[in-house]
Symmetry: C2
Subunit: 204 residues, 2 copies
Amino acid sequence: MSEKQLKDEQRHKQKMQRQKKRIDASIAGANEDRGVLILLTGDGKGKTSSAFGMIMRALGYGYRVGVVQFIKGEQLSGEELFLKDVLPQVDFYQMGTGFTWDTQDRARDIEAAEKTWSVVEPMLSDHSYHLVILDEITYMLSFKYLDEERVINALTARPRNQSVVLTGRGGGTAIREIADTVSEVKEVRHAYNSGIKARRGVDF
Amino acid sequence: MSEKQLKDEQRHKQKMQRQKKRIDASIAGANEDRGVLILLTGDGKGKTSSAFGMIMRALGYGYRVGVVQFIKGEQLSGEELFLKDVLPQVDFYQMGTGFTWDTQDRARDIEAAEKTWSVVEPMLSDHSYHLVILDEITYMLSFKYLDEERVINALTARPRNQSVVLTGRGGGTAIREIADTVSEVKEVRHAYNSGIKARRGVDF
């Protein structure tokens, strides 16, 4: 090994040791053991798929999972098919016939949102659910289809061991404030804008 | 219905129509039908889980999926258990005994990275894979464990119908430039920093 290589090796080792020290310190500092409220927001690709990836994590340990989707396009999606066909143990509800980007009927949308919320509320008070995913719920708040206070109250009063993932752009500040973890998915570039079609099995 | 409600309804309808018009226009403008290269980067939570969510999408349509993880902690993760136990049809490889955040042995890490790359390369030239996930591969480039040119060449020469998802912080500019879609997951807040432990079934 040359002198340069030896030096590189040493530098790398020191760098990795510092990194490990930082990670270990932050693990040691985290003592509270409870469910978390996660908000995945921003305009970039990956919010819904990230929530669905967490389903795998929870199921890997045999935990109970509830998934409620507030917006449903007309197009069938791969994750819907997968949940229905392969994972019937996941409690899966879709707002369905109500709101999609294509409807422009506010009264009907509100009715559908409220019906959907009546599925969510029992989940948020049932400690047997380890993980509850409320996909695209932020739009229900932005559009004032659901009462913000009611949503916030149900989220904060949920069982201590339950984690909840909320996805969607916007949604207001109240939800941001009560979330333990907030990730903002920023669109740096999207294939769409270079004329590439949305891809089955990747985008939907 | 009061006059104000009627007005609100109308405004909402107009807003939704504009939104639908924008979405329809961007769909009509996208004509190229091929696999995409997606980079999920940034310091926020949700990159790996997002990639894993896309596995569900692809499997929902019965597509073949390959998953290669370049960094593996000592802790077993829920998605690993799930893939191994529930989804044996997914070709899943982990760098395993090699690199983790805990090792500080550059020569051994490089060896492990190269061994892992030898699993990736055949996937990237096999059109039967609809989706290939290279989890945390960016670190292999940042640390110069893998030759950047070799990685870029294999990615750009892959079958036209194959989509690839790369995850991890950093990774350099070359990979950013060839990606069709780049999402940056920004950490706005993380439960860790309020002293909340990483959660089984959510964080790992």
